[in-house]
Symmetry: C2
Subunit: 311 residues, 2 copies
């Protein structure tokens, strides 16, 4: 049986893309972790069930969506049969046999599914050219809006806007902006959440030239929502650092101001050098930085590669 699965600590794109791609591939949508409040809002809004929680790849055919890195996927991926990947991140895996791989620098994985659908060409990645129903179109639209922060993130492309508009028509969403704000508010329930939950909400682990680096992110409409929890979050990150990390960053992204406060724990020199900044306290505000993928991962990866080459 084919399982379509997004990354650990799934966000709306990982959950919704898994559900919709599984529909086209006649597979089972799956997830590697809990469904966050924003995604819960989306699934409820369109009346779609949560994907199945899986913990092992053993005996399964696997199609990854929205990620390719080993640190973000099933621990025992090699026990299953990886048949394909659909993603919009950097290439994070090598394989020992040919597989289907479609990746492209667009705002979300959902954008790619939409693009293939509207071109009637899902069969390129092994899918059937079935009809996209309004509920599933709504999931894809939500994933695009979530990943591109309502088309404001620097990862946004014209393709995201074009596909988003077409999906809105099918799904019956008349005003994308209004729906998008509802979505962001559902995400921004951080005011009510415990610091432990906030840290886990959207946390990803990376391996940069052998060094383990964690990067968490939370998006807020008003930074005041999280202000009083920052100290506690910082202490949780310090504790987490002991799990073999070289560096942990936590981005508090202010959607309205379009920038992020970055909490830095661990190898502060790496952070300062990678971003060419001076860190004086525990955190620094980086104007315009909204995308982990496009603005945070590349400079860190470059830095770790350089120091590794010097050795």
């Amino acid at each position: 049986m084919l399982y379509v699965v997004g990354h650990k600590n799934p966000d709306t794109d990982s959950i919704c893309s898994a559900i919709v791609l599984a529909y086209f591939l006649d597979g089972v949508p799956a997830r590697l972790g809990g469904v966050n409040p924003e995604t819960q809002f989306v699934l409820k809004r369109f009346g779609v069930m949560e994907p199945e929680l899986i913990r092992s790849a053993e005996g399964k055919e696997i199609f990854l969506v929205d990620h390719s890195e080993k640190s973000q996927t099933l621990e025992d991926l090699e026990k299953g049969k990886l048949v394909g990947i659909l993603d919009h991140h950097k290439i994070g895996i090598t394989t020992s046999e040919p597989i289907i791989y479609l990746a492209k620098p667009v705002g979300s994985t959902a954008t790619l599914i939409g693009e293939l659908y509207f071109k009637n060409t899902l069969d390129i990645i092994g899918g059937k050219n079935k009809e996209l129903k309004p509920d599933l179109a709504g999931l894809l639209l939500s994933a695009i809006l979530s990943d591109t922060v309502l088309f404001k993130s620097p990862t946004t492309t014209d393709i995201d806007r074009k596909i988003g508009k077409k999906l809105a028509e099918i799904s019956g969403i008349e005003d994308i902006q209004t729906y998008g704000m509802e979505l962001l508010k559902a995400k921004s329930t951080v005011g009510k959440m415990a610091p432990e939950e906030i840290v886990k909400l959207d946390y990803k682990e990376f391996n940069f030239n052998g060094r383990k680096v964690g990067i968490g992110q939370v998006e807020v409409i008003d930074i005041g929502e999280i202000q009083e929890k920052k100290e506690k979050i910082y202490r949780i990150l310090e504790e987490k650092l002991k799990e073999g990390y070289d560096l942990i960053l936590f981005l508090i992204t202010d959607i309205m101001k379009e920038g992020s406060e970055v909490l830095v724990v661990g190898n502060k020199e790496a952070f300062e050098r990678a971003f060419n900044v001076n860190l004086e306290g525990k955190s620094i505000y980086l104007e315009g930085v909204m995308s982990r993928k496009k603005q945070v991962v590349p400079p860190l990866e470059k830095y770790y590669k350089e120091i590794s080459n010097k050795k």
Copy 2:
């Protein structure tokens, strides 16, 4: 400027796919080595110029076709900007930023270009939906016939056959089989070639868990063509082994008998274990083995991974 380039020691698929994809991407077709006799025959047949020979990625935008492994591409790839990959081999690279990547287990890269063209969807990988002229359709057909050994190789899929047929119609090739035999004969000029040239003809280097492995291949219609050169080829491989190789294999593939005689130099135990065979002399005939990619690389990669894990 965007350069579209195939692998080192280019074969017909690497050269022809680079030419045709460059046409759709408005880029420059390029190559990393000499044009072999078969490809020369194809270019002459359809009146198309050789791609430009390049030696460095510096200052260039690069789109790779028919490969992704670092050992098979430009030495200084990181000095250029890698924008995309179109391939039918295993995933052999990771990147630090998102790129376009389309891979799929079909018989040739040319098959994928043809598939995108007939679906009017080359824009998915950044191409323009221009018309495919008969000469370029002829190149793609030739690449498919070459890589799938006239649809006989186990890598052949129904997609290759379907796309090949459509390309034949556009290119004006009325009888695919007859043209295919002409092509294979052009390849099989090994009878006239020096052993040094035969070894270089289609030679690929791999890195399996830190071990350097070379796998060369030559396809013949009649194994007699090469019989008397085998000893000399073996001595050349023994000499080559000193360049830091753990193992070198050389496949003499008999297209008609559909099997390969494999010359083995270096770590013979690795070969025996990977293929579960007993090697008594310098070579062994493996019935049914025609594809380096599908039948030779995977067992070797698996073996080297396993011994590396045991350490």
